[in-house]
Subunit: 404 residues, 2 copies
């Protein structure tokens, strides 16, 4: 197996928690080694330590001089919507002039305009789009990412979306219940169709299922029906919840044992307490709140309540056209009142946990050899260098996958 | 002279105003040509138009295939502080944990910690730092930028800062009155020193003078004294005003005929009306407001009142560690309620006006051959693609200066 030695790193920074997830005090615990090396052996990390403790390495090893660079775990984006056609730049421009997201959605813009553009693509065109987006993600330091379907809302395009996401290296989540399609505005009839006609094959292609539980999309009863059927087919569960209104997503997620509830901009004290005491992760999407100029989620309260916090981009054309987890780290520190340590853990270890991506999200012997190299004297530039070209290179599965 | 033909551009977008500055309806006026070319002849643009109207070009000309790209004028950053040593990543991390900017400043962090780090650099080291920062700016599409001194606060370092900025390609502004230095806490005595010992040489090195008019820095009477002396020495005038409190910066700027008042996060209705009717530009710095989690400036009201609006990064280590005008465009559209057209004009034509950079900030026959190429099907991706690698290449003075 090929070996790769990252040498003379200014710092290696990694979540310090021993377990698969960090909450409470562990959410703030980042272990930093200065003047360090990381030795990768095939797809795993073999060793991490001070340069002065570098063991003799026998046999062939590729060496990379990392002077002036810091290493963090390859970033993990646990919430993206990368399978779409077209864009929403006109809608973006209209919103800048004063229209609200819900108004645009109600006027036939919003998700449905992307559904039309996505259905118009061939399978190959859709895969090319997702691969292009995956390239953007890699350049921002992401080595593991989830991608949702949900701009097809028909059998063919939903399944093509899941295939395209897997082909481009992502972990597919089936979001058939993203919106009701224009040709079937009855939500119950649409769910009948989804569960009878799409679920059997989607369950074989995806890792998880997700639903948009919100006024104008699916209510709690319909979300429960969809998720229970998906669970029965072997899929892990996710929920879009409390984005605009508190609609019962958190109690439902707890009851069903979902992996996460995502968004939470509208979550109040009771929801914070409930998530604080549960194993369901709170996935926060501050770039979406910024993009829509909406209130930020109660991140500080969730962290202080002991919630399993994760951060993601929510990459999508309508409400968060960004693939930059470094930007999300900056927003976490400036808008969510999280420490850089909390931001890092939330977009590595905890995000990997949400995806069931065992071994990702840390740099330690036996972990995945997925490492993001920052062009910075201190790893906290990940958040500090706002919209900077902070990602210098990315190692994925033990090989250099990107260099700026 | 060398000629460069940019051909097959998806779009060329440029401020439509005829005059040197745009306000009111002209602030929203962007002329877009689709399927276009731009012909550069030496350091000037010779022609712009539809590809089908491309004239025969005799003699040698370098051609660049710009399929899939959009052209906007080289971006102009009219407010940066690039001459500094060290960083403020520790302060950033503390602030994320709850400390306010003013508290950190009062505790001896803030500007003065950067002053210590900047004074510790040799002239060559300082110039290397500014050149590194200028490289970041270029990669974000900036072809013209202003840089302020103000982290020296002694004769040698202030003058070295101005020289380093000029050497790195920037337009220097002397910000001797940024803060009072630790060795001379009496503001009047410090101004005596600045005007007697530094101004004569600073006036030969800089284009403009600037002052930080704010509680804890310089009050209006001292700002007036400093600016009047600088005006007498031939410098154009700028002011940092209304960042945290309304302290009289706008009336003073109007009275003295300053080029701009910058920040304005605390500006109320009277200030908006005053700027709306004046030739003094309002320079807004939304990335600074984001970085410090402070209120955004009243951009929409200023635009509607007819103010000469400009946008800038405020790049500096303490309150806006970003060189990305594309990010500022995104913040303008999502946080300041400006249209993409207003954002573009504010960071090209109007920003060039603030700097007296004649011929910069538009793409038209006779304008500077400074052009930023966007990897996007629509020029509004400049704002829409949040923290994306949207800048594909930069032409400066008719030559390709950057390619991603």
């Amino acid at each position: 197996m090929a070996r790769l030695l990252l040498r003379d790193l200014a710092q290696v920074a990694t979540p310090a928690a021993d377990g698969p997830v960090a909450r409470g005090a562990e959410l703030r615990a980042v272990a930093v080694v200065e003047d360090a090396y990381v030795l990768c052996d095939g797809e795993s990390v073999r060793g991490v330590g001070r340069m002065r403790d570098l063991p003799a390495v026998d046999g062939d090893v590729e060496e990379l001089d990392c002077s002036g660079l810091c290493a963090v775990p390859g970033l993990v984006d646990c919430h993206t919507h990368p399978a779409f056609g077209g864009d929403r730049v006109v809608e973006f421009s209209l919103r800048a002039g004063g229209a609200s997201y819900e108004e645009l959605h109600a006027a036939g813009g919003g998700i449905l305009s992307t559904v039309v553009a996505t259905r118009a693509l061939s399978g190959g065109e859709l895969e090319a789009r997702v691969r292009r987006h995956a390239g953007w993600m890699l350049a921002h330091g992401m080595t593991t990412w989830e991608g949702k379907s949900g701009y097809g809302l028909d059998r063919e395009t939903e399944l093509a979306s899941l295939r395209a996401i897997r082909a481009a290296g992502g972990l597919p989540t089936w979001l058939g219940a993203h919106s009701v399609p224009p040709e079937q505005p009855d939500a119950d009839a649409y769910l009948d169709f989804l569960l009878a006609e799409v679920l059997p094959e989607a369950a074989a292609l995806a890792d998880a299922a997700d639903v948009f539980l919100e006024r104008g999309a699916f209510d709690a009863a319909r979300a429960r029906r969809y998720l229970e059927a998906c669970r029965g087919a072997g899929l892990a569960l996710r929920l879009h919840g409390d984005q605009f209104t508190e609609s019962g997503a958190i109690p439902l997620a707890l009851e069903l044992g979902a992996r996460s509830v995502d968004h939470l901009e509208a979550t109040g004290d009771a929801g914070v307490r409930a998530l604080g005491g549960s194993a369901v992760a709170a996935v926060l999407l501050p770039s979406s709140a910024l993009f829509l100029d909406r209130p930020m989620p109660p991140a500080r309260a969730l962290a202080d309540a002991g919630a399993v916090l994760a951060l993601a981009t929510d990459f999508n054309p309508g409400s968060s056209f960004t693939t930059s987890l470094p930007l999300v780290a900056s927003l976490a520190c400036t808008q969510l009142h999280l420490a850089p340590e909390e931001a890092l853990v939330a977009m590595t270890l905890n995000a990997a946990h949400v995806l069931g991506a065992t071994g990702a999200g840390r740099i330690a012997p036996g972990s995945r050899a997925d490492i993001t190299l920052l062009d910075a004297p201190d790893w906290r530039y990940l958040a500090y260098h706002l919209a900077g070209d902070v990602v210098s290179a990315v190692v994925r599965s033990g090989a250099i996958a990107f260099r700026r």
